[in-house]
Every structure is written in structure tokens, then in C-alpha cells.
Amino acid sequence: MELVVFVLAAAMILVGGLGVVLRSHPVHAALSLILTLFGVAVMFVSQQAHFLAAVQVIVYAGAIVVLFLFVIMLLGVDRTEDLKTEPFKVQRPLAVIVGLGVVGLVTAAVVTSRDVVATRGAGIIEPAMTDPDSNIRQLSRSVFGDYVVAFEVTSVLLVVAVVGTVLLTRKVKPTSKESQ
């Protein structure tokens, strides 16, 4: 059962991920991203992280990609891009380096922590298996307890970003007489 779910979800994630990179149409790429996010949500469910799965769908698929699509549609860039022209010369070699680096890091992490990965169910907190709401309890204890400062600082950061955006996009209009 778990294997079947894993294979299907992994296929969703990979197809979506490839779609994001390879589809030349921005809207199709964004839709592929949704497929990937759903695949990750399925993975979360199969690992009993129901809350994370729901939040993944609500926040990422439901809000963030909607905003992506919004921007794509409103700016009118919803046409096929010509990939031949390169506006920013350095980004392709840089992308190759970063990509290889990430692959290397993930491989290194898996190799060094092989013994933990190999043990089935290592690091699982016992009450999480019996109490259906314990997922949420554990998460909220760590977010609003152990890491409350980091959490609050993040929210301040977001507010700063919003206020800054409003301030930057706001044009001070000349008085109505001059604008006539």
C-alpha cells in the first residue's frame, strides 16, 4: 500500500517538476507546479502528517500559485516564451552549478545519515500514532513554544514586505488641478 502510494506520488512530483522547467508556456508551468505540490501533499498524508498535507494544499496550491497565475494573467505574459534569447547571461551556468550542488548535498546527507534512514520509524513520537489531533498539538507546541521568537520575527518580516511594497508602488499624484 505504502509503496504504491509512494510510486504514484513520486511520479506526480517528478512529472510536475519537469513540467515547471520544460513547459514553455508560463501558465502550463504554474499548473505543473500545482501537480508537484499535490504530490508532496500525498506524500505527507502517507507519512501520517495530515496537517502538513492540508496546509500544503491550502497555502501553496490555494494561495501562492493562485497569486502566480494572477500575476501571469494580469501582466499579460501568458504567451509562449522564446527560450533562445537570454536576457541574463550568467544565469544558465549558475543554475547548473546550483543544481549540481543541491544534488551533491542531498546525496551527502543521505549517505552520512544512512543508519537513521534505514531504521524504519526512527524518530517517531509515540503519541502521534494513537491520538489523531496530536500532529497539530506537537506542531503548535514547537511553533508557538520553542520557536515563538522566530515565528514572530517571520511575521514582522512579512508585514515589512507588505508595507514596503505598498509604499514603493504608491505614486504621489500631483494635485487634481495639474492632472487635468
Binding site: 500500500m1 505504502e2 502510494v5 501558465v27 502550463h28 499548473l31 500545482i34 498524508v45 502517507s46 501520517q48 495530515h50 496537517f51 498535507a53 492540508a54 496546509v55 494544499v57 491550502i58 496550491a61 490555494g62 494561495a63 493562485v66 497569486l67 497565475l69 494572477f70 494573467m73 494580469l74 501568458d78 524504519r120 520509524g121 489523531p132 489531533d133 500532529n135 497539530i136 499624484k173 487634481s176 492632472s179
Partner: protein
Amino acid sequence: MNNPTSILGLDPIAIGDLIWAPLVIILLKVVVIFVLGLVATMLMVWFERKAIAGMGNRIGPNKAGPWGLLQTLADGIKLFFKEDLMPDRADRFVFKLAPYLAFVPAFLVWSVIPLGGDFSNGKGGIVTWFGHATRVQLADPPVGVLLLLALSSVAVYGIMLAGWSSGSKYPLLGSVRASAQMVSYEAALGLSIATVILLAGTLSTSGIVGHQSSFADWHVVSTGVIPFIIFMLAATAEMNRPPFDLVEAEQELVGGFNTEYSSIRFGLFFLAEFMNTITMSGVIVTLFFGGPQGLFNIPGIPGAIEGSIWLIAKVLVFLYIYVWMRATLPRFRYDQLMDLGWKILIPTSLGWFMLMAVLRLSRDENWNRGLVAIVAAVIILGCVALMSTAVKVSKANREREGAMF
């Protein structure tokens, strides 16, 4: 780890080995809920047309079947045989995908609404069918209510992509309006649900119903009505129903996001819209009105069936309210809609949530009741004053800069 509970939810029937009998019961539930959903939607369309006709002093559908009951079926068959058009400039794949993205989430909401069962005396809504304990509900995942929010956020895609993929101006405008509206009201929707979760202490829908065992425990009473009103308004906006139906404002946008759709693809949007009305009424009843829990025992009817009767009665009340609102209220203007959502509903629901949290904490910690009430009232008044000043200042600024509204 390899426990099917993780996927099928907390239904006691899904715990343990899945042998034939439970599997058949689950399949039976799926089929029954599917058929029930379609039939209920069919009747809902008839009910809405008939009720609006009555309010408008007309007769309404009266030709197909007794009292015109089969009118929706006739319309459905007609839609099936209509030509399926696709605009030249449409994005073919997305155009075909969009109706399903609208329709499937509408249907899936049914799976987490408790449709009956005996919740009295702490039985938790578990009934016994053919010797197997189960719930009258397709799935009871631990994240129940969040699943509803997730589905409503997926439903945005159906409308948004339908408008965009049509490759035409009015549908695009309609869908941009729709998605802005749905994303804005989702916040108020979530915050008013949070108040309910705060009191119930669980996310699972059957747990929330089980928590409302008497009238004083119904969340509409125990959360103090305000979250219910906010939820009702936000849900109406979320479904794009009147008076918040700017998405398909005929005078401005031809038909909104579904202008270019015809045949059964249009039928799916239509079906999704009406099914959303029913499921949203079901969600309101589940969250605020005790779901299948009744006010008194109906004599002579076993507990499990009684629950379903109560649920249907309560849902019918809300369906009527939605039809009533559609027939009587004029459509909002777009800036009024956004003002209502961002400047009234979201601050109110956030403030109310914090108030409920403080009251809860003061009860748990045995704080002085009177002192807590006074401090809370002062803070609320301060916040209201601050908010209204901010709104006034920004309005004055806009007027000074010569904006239109």
C-alpha cells in the same frame, strides 16, 4: 505505519484488516453519497427556480413531471446533446480540464460532512450496519475542517482557469474578479472556522458535531453568533452566489467565466455551483448548528435515522435562506465587496477569535471574570476606533488625490 487508517480517516470500519464486508460497506457509502449528491442538486435547482418564481409572482417550471420536478433532468439531457464548442483561441487542454477542477472539489466536500448517526449519550455518531461499527459519513480524516478549506481553495482554479483558457476578454475579467474575491474571503472563512475549532478542540468534523450536544453547546450560541454571520457571508462570497455574484454579472461580463462554455462542460459548472450551495449549507450546519444532533427526540424513529432527518431539516432552512438572499438582495459593487471583506469581515473575525481565546484562557486559569471583561472591552473599543480612523484617513487621502471612489 502501514495502517490504512492514515488514508481512509478515522472511521472505525477502516481500522484493522480490510476484508470484504467493510469494503462493500465503504463502496456502498460512496455510491449512495454520489447518487444522493446528484439527486439533491437536481432538486435544489428546481427548488431555487420555483422559490424565486414564487417570490417574483411567477409560476416557475411546471411542465416536466409533477410540479415541474423533472425540469432539471430535462435541462441536463438537453445540455448533453448540445454541440460542444471550443473557441479558436482557447488553450485546449486547460479548457477541458477546468470544469472538472470546479466539479470534483464540490463533490468531495460531501465525504467529510456527517450525514447522520446517533450522537446522543457520547456515542460519537457511530452506528452499526450489518454487524460493523461505522459512521454515517464517508471519511473522517483528522484534518476534516481543513480539508474543506483546501477543497474550496482548489475550486478557485476551476473558475480561474476556465476564464483564462477561453482566450476571450469577458471570461478573463470574470475569472480575475472571481479569484480575487475567493482568495480575499477565504481569510475570513478560515478565521471564523478557527473560533469553532478553538471551542471544539478538534479538527475532525464528527468531533465538532459530537461537541455540540445541546442547544447551548451549538457553536452558533457558544461562539456568540458573530463567527456564524461572518462564515455565512464569506461562504456566500466563496460560492459566488448573489449578492456577491460579480463573477457572472450579466450586464457587465456577458456570462462571466463560463461564457465560452457550452454543452456538458457548462453543465458541470452549473452542477458544481448548485452542489456547492448544498454542501456549504451542510458545512454551516455541521460547524454551527450541531449537524445531525437534534433539539428533541422524535418519537418512534431510531436514533441514527433521526440524525439524518434533523440534518436534512436544518440544511433545508439554509438552502431557503440562500434562495431568499438571491431573490431579494441587489448585487454589490466591486469596491463594496472588497471593503466588506478586508475592512469589516477579516478584522472582526480576527478580533472575535482573540476574544474567544482570552475568555477560554481566563476560564482555564481562573482569572477574575469582571477584570477580563473590562480589559477586553477597552481593547476592543480601542481597536475599533483605530481601525475606523485609519479607514477615514485613507478615504480622505483618496478623495484628495482625486480617485473615483
